[in-house]
């Protein structure tokens, strides 16, 4: 099976998302997926489109900025929009803002097996003293864990329904987990933003029992 992953890294937000997805690449390789990593400048429309059309990846993991009608790549150029049927036949997870609202719906209408994404802006917290160092950032990793839980489930062969529910469960556990490493004020802000992301995580699918 093939997985296509897009990892633009042109600003702080995309740098963090790109870093978080490195774990998914390793996991996919361990599960025997052939991984196509469109990293940095390679997360562009021509490369994305040509790979999808030629290789028809079973799983597409999108990272980047977005809105209700598109997910973007490097320097925010649109990679896929609601008007296209590029995602037909694939399972898609988009770590991007708002794309489930319309792009996700249209994608499933056009034959995408399942579209996981967010119905509102995706948010996270970084540590001012460690900004742009995702591996050292003590707050960033709190958001990474639930953000990559659903894609991890998809890679490891869970059903679409279970992948979604496990993603929600992971967010809920993160919210309820009061870390003694942080102050109460820090915990409150972490919980607030985790809650917002949990509320936004959504799935569109006609095949909830499907698994890769």
């Amino acid at each position: 099976m093939k997985v296509l992953i897009t990892r633009p890294d042109h600003d702080i937000v995309t740098t963090y998302l790109s870093n978080w997805s490195k774990d998914l690449i390793k996991l996919a390789e361990n599960y025997g997926f052939k991984v196509k990593d469109l990293n940095g400048e390679d997360a562009n429309k021509p490369l994305f489109e040509s790979f999808v059309k030629a290789q028809k990846p079973e799983l597409i993991l999108l990272n980047g900025h977005g809105n209700e009608n598109m997910v973007c790549g490097f320097k925010n150029q649109p990679l896929v929009t609601a008007e296209e049927d590029l995602l037909k036949g694939s399972v898609v997870h988009a770590l991007a803002c708002d794309s489930s609202s319309n792009l996700g719906l249209k994608a499933v209408e056009n034959g995408t097996i399942a579209y996981f994404g967010y119905k509102n802006p995706f948010c996270f917290i970084t540590e001012k003293t460690n900004e742009c160092r995702p591996n050292e950032d003590k707050f960033g990793k709190i958001f990474k864990i639930p953000a990559i839980e659903t894609p991890k489930n998809l890679i490891s062969g869970k059903t679409m329904r279970d992948a979604y529910e496990n993603g929600i469960k992971c967010y809920r556990e993160a919210i309820l987990n009061k870390s003694s490493s942080f102050t109460e004020e820090e915990n409150e802000q972490l919980r607030l933003i985790l809650f917002f992301n949990m509320k936004g995580l959504s799935i569109e699918t006609n095949s909830p029992e499907f698994k890769l």
Binding site: I12, V13, Y16, E127, E131, Q189, I193
Partner: protein
């Protein structure tokens, strides 16, 4: 200033100075000072933040 905004400003006043919140597609992150400014102005970010916080507060009462 309405009660909700006052409540959120009070919560924000205790926010750690080491926190930067990245909201959606916005290029800049928001620290405590910037968030307080946006909430007071009640611009797009300010309104969104108040709405987000109020929903969170209601959820802490009802349960997650």
């Amino acid at each position: 200033m309405n009660n909700e905004i006052e409540l959120i400003l009070a919560r924000l006043s205790t926010m750690s100075d080491n926190i930067v919140i990245h909201i959606g597609n916005n290029k800049e992150g928001y620290d405590k000072e910037k968030l307080i400014e946006h909430v007071k102005k009640q611009d797009k970010i300010g309104k969104m933040f108040v709405e987000m916080y109020m929903e969170y507060i209601r959820a802490t009462i009802k349960g997650f």
